[in-house]
């Protein structure tokens, strides 16, 4: 079965510093990959997604992610973190077992931003 692993449960970054959140997936074919963000008490919002083509994907709020097939990774990056980026971040992959009708989510990484 396919799966998504986010190795870091919590990450603390100073405001203005760069950020990288890790995501690894297990999947045989070329995956559909997503990053979602959840602010406290809110639903999830899509940051960016990858299907094919350029392996560096740009998203909203200044985020980007790079698909690396050789490492089975889709890490999320931001060059300079703002206090408003404090939230929980979820990586997800399209589920081939449902005919790609559904997503499998990782367990999330909580980002804390220190002043």
């Amino acid at each position: 079965a396919q799966s998504v692993t986010q190795p870091d449960i919590h990450i603390t970054v100073s405001e203005g510093a760069s950020l990288e959140l890790r995501c690894n997936y297990s999947y045989g074919a070329t995956p559909y990959l997503f990053w979602y963000v959840q602010s406290p008490g809110q639903g999830l919002q899509l940051l960016l997604k990858y299907f094919s083509g350029d392996t560096l994907v740009q998203g909203i709020k200044g985020f980007e992610a790079e698909f690396k097939r050789s490492q089975s990774s889709f890490n999320l990056r931001k060059p300079s973190v703002h206090w408003s980026d404090a939230a929980e971040y979820f990586c997800a992959v399209g589920d081939m077992n449902s005919g790609y009708s559904t997503l499998t989510f990782g367990k999330g990484t909580m980002l804390l931003v220190s002043p």
């Binding site: 639903g43 919002q45 589920d95 559904t102």
Partner: protein, 114 residues
């Protein structure tokens, strides 16, 4: 557009009671989903629907039932609530065709079962 709305926002049940959570979307989306979110577990899919009148089981369907009688609504039912069903429930919808299309999420329903 209201997007995806969920009713109610909060609910407390006693063990054995039943309830229905309502999800509504005004984006004419084909696909709808129900997830539960528990600390450290991420989002787990309960049931989903790829069109009016269709439903399918997700990763954790036991103890839940769903119905999609109208395209814009997706109902999640708990027939006999258990404390293990204490969770935050999220509904989502997408345009469909495949999971490449963005899922839009509702604000969530926080359910406590005593």
């Amino acid at each position: 557009n209201a997007g995806v709305t969920q009713t109610p926002k909060f609910r407390v049940l006693k063990t054995g009671q039943s309830m229905t959570l309502l999800c509504a979307q005004d984006m004419n989306h084909e696909y709808m989903y129900w997830y539960r979110q528990d600390p450290g577990m991420g989002l787990r899919l309960i049931h989903y629907s790829v069109g009016e009148g269709t439903t399918a089981k997700g990763e954790v369907p036991d103890g839940y039932n769903v119905s999609r009688l109208k395209k814009q609504n997706f109902l999640l039912g708990l027939e006999s609530a258990a404390p293990s069903q204490t969770s935050v429930y999220f509904c989502a919808s997408s345009r469909g065709l495949n999971s490449y299309n963005e899922q839009f999420f509702g604000p969530g329903t926080r359910l406590t079962v005593l």
